[in-house]
Symmetry: C2
Subunit: 357 residues, 2 copies
């Protein structure tokens, strides 16, 4: 049976890095006879420029029909002054919510070959391997009411709503526990239950979910402490599960612990395991078009896609092995450049991975 | 004129560390003829145990009458199961809001003597000196409506409201710009304006405030990026200004960059500069009563109190010099213990500071 992949290059460095990832996808498709077909569509700022919407109907329809989506990145200063309703980010948020991609898996892994890139001491991060499971379609990102209103006294007030229902918490909790079962069987749930009622409910429901997974250990940590512990001793964590906003902050901090955010892929899954795959990093408009961006996070996102949505574990393994190989050869893009290694272009990195395959 | 200081030891290690800080306060009071008198009151879990409220009327009345407040820390597992309305944290939050202590100053400074304690590479953190200015009486901490309700379909939903008015943003903005004027004249305002309307207003008002301070540079950064940049290159910042929740997370991360959160004081000020002073760290119930907690953050909070609320700059300087002296002598509490240094008790650390004065 044919599998449909939708390619969404997006903005900034998106098109460049996605181009390399598509070459890799094509290569494993042939090599492993995966029967994958793909087409492209517009999203983000480039979609707004072309159609007036960051998520055109046509793109959404294709996304709904696809078995998996590969996204580059969206956004850039060019669109910063637009009304929030049509900003590039709305394209991304619209995809997440329309496709119910509630479970965002963000691994933070330190590649031994890149240990030097971290700003942390080697003994603190060597062997780091954490998985952040972030709720992606609820919380304050989508809560109503929201907006900016004028008060009776004439001054304006901005407001957003942080809201979670039991069922939303339960399903992301299960995602986290399932993921932990394939790892070290430890889930740490992050909340601010000493201040925010919504996270009191979060904590309670996590306790309930934990009963379904007696083989997995559940602990709780306050978000401020979690931010500290990530800096102090990140290896204490296996799986961290948290809401949309805290997950946004903590997953970026965790990714940066590795010093090589250009290496980290992510998956956003719905209840059936269909998903959208994208690098953890952003659209990096400052280096867009220069041919120096690191395509490896996007290439590794292809591997995640093959594993989670396209049932092609061996192709995923092959890509990951090829990437590791390329690092062993001392090839680096500028963001992970290091003494004694060769700094190469986006395209040359794509070539190297293809060759290693 | 007599100055009244209210001492609130609180819970956990609070009483131990505050006891040493009060000895230091008494010493400079005598030495510099400051005319300070002080009394103590209950707050937090210990107040709840005694009176049924984490912020008894008597404590609040004394707090309102005081020229400055010195707080230890509140909270502990003993009170974790209590209803949110009477938890120890409510005592702290009640003080902040009743006294309108909207401006929370949290310096993250790396003491050269403690450079090794950081989990970050020395070149990343050497000389680190950032000030986080956190809004403390608004935002999602206090926003209404809030709670847990049952939906029509029978499931529960938790909700909180993230809200800021222009005037609330303006006054914390001014705090940050004023603070920056005494430092490197750079303010970085942290928001999530690509997703949250309340922070769109935040960003706008910061731009307005910046016009009043043409000598200070204003930049903006998204909160997820800020969490990354703190890990990657924290020395890029001078003053960071942000809301209550983001400030809670980022200031703890920033404090932990130094590796010695037991050294960091904080001030929470109202519009007239009256304030509450407390260590950045928590009540550490696991080591309470053992006499090993680090009293230096609380002692340095006394210095901040003398400087900001009691107009006694030279006494503040004397305390800070004494602390630096003690570190030079190689004296350390357990949390900052290091090879070649002597590990001493809470009380012995108090003795050492007194001797150095
Ligand atoms: C672009 C932005 C809306 C997005 C988010 O905040 O979720 C990004 O930061 C991310 O983490 O994927
Ligand atoms: C104890 C808690 C309510 C408090 C907060 O979240 O503000 C603490 O974490 C702090 O930062 O002072």
């Amino acid at each position: 049976m044919t599998k449909n992949v939708l390619i969404l290059p997006g903005d900034g460095i998106g098109p460049e890095i996605v181009a390399q990832a598509v070459r890799v996808l094509d290569a494993v498709n042939a090599q492993f006879s995966l029967n994958i077909v793909h087409e492209s569509a517009l999203v983000g700022g480039s979609a707004y420029d072309e159609t007036g919407s960051p998520l055109p109907e046509a793109t959404l329809a294709k996304a709904k029909a696809a078995d998996a989506i590969l996204l580059g990145a969206v956004g850039g200063p060019k669109w910063d002054k637009l009304d929030m309703s049509v900003r590039p980010e709305k394209g991304l948020l619209g995809l997440r919510s329309n496709l119910e991609l509630f479970s965002n898996l963000r691994p933070a892994i330190l590649y031994p070959q890149l240990a030097d890139a971290s700003s942390l001491k080697p003994e603190i991060v060597a062997g780091l391997d954490i998985l952040i499971v972030r709720e992606l379609t609820g919380g304050i990102y989508f809560g109503q009411p929201r907006g900016i209103r004028t008060l009776e006294n004439g001054e304006r007030e901005g407001y957003n709503t942080y809201v979670y229902s039991e069922s939303e918490i339960r399903r992301i909790g299960r995602s986290a526990f399932e993921a932990a079962r394939l790892r070290d069987k430890r889930v740490c749930s992050i909340d601010k239950s000493n201040v925010l009622e919504v996270t009191v409910l979060w904590k309670e429901v996590m306790e309930e979910v934990a009963k379904e997974y007696p083989d997995v250990e559940l602990t709780h940590m306050l978000v401020d402490n979690a931010a500290m512990q990530l800096v102090r001793a990140p290896k204490q964590f296996d799986v961290m599960v948290t809401g949309n906003m805290f997950g946004d902050i903590l997953s970026d901090a965790a990714a940066m612990l590795t010093g090589s955010i250009g290496m980290l892929p992510s998956a956003s899954l719905n209840a059936e395991g269909r998903g959208m795959y994208e690098p953890c990093h952003g659209s990096a408009p400052d280096i867009a078009g220069k041919g120096i961006a690191n395509p490896l996070a996007t290439i590794l996102s292809v591997a995640m896609m093959l594993r989670y949505s396209l049932d092609s574990e061996s192709a995923a393994d092959a890509i990951e092995a090829a990437v590791s190989n390329v690092l062993d050869l001392g090839l680096r893009t500028a963001d992970i450049a290091s003494k004694g290694c060769e700094t190469i272009s986006t395209q040359a990195m794509g070539d190297a991975v293809l060759k290693a395959l």
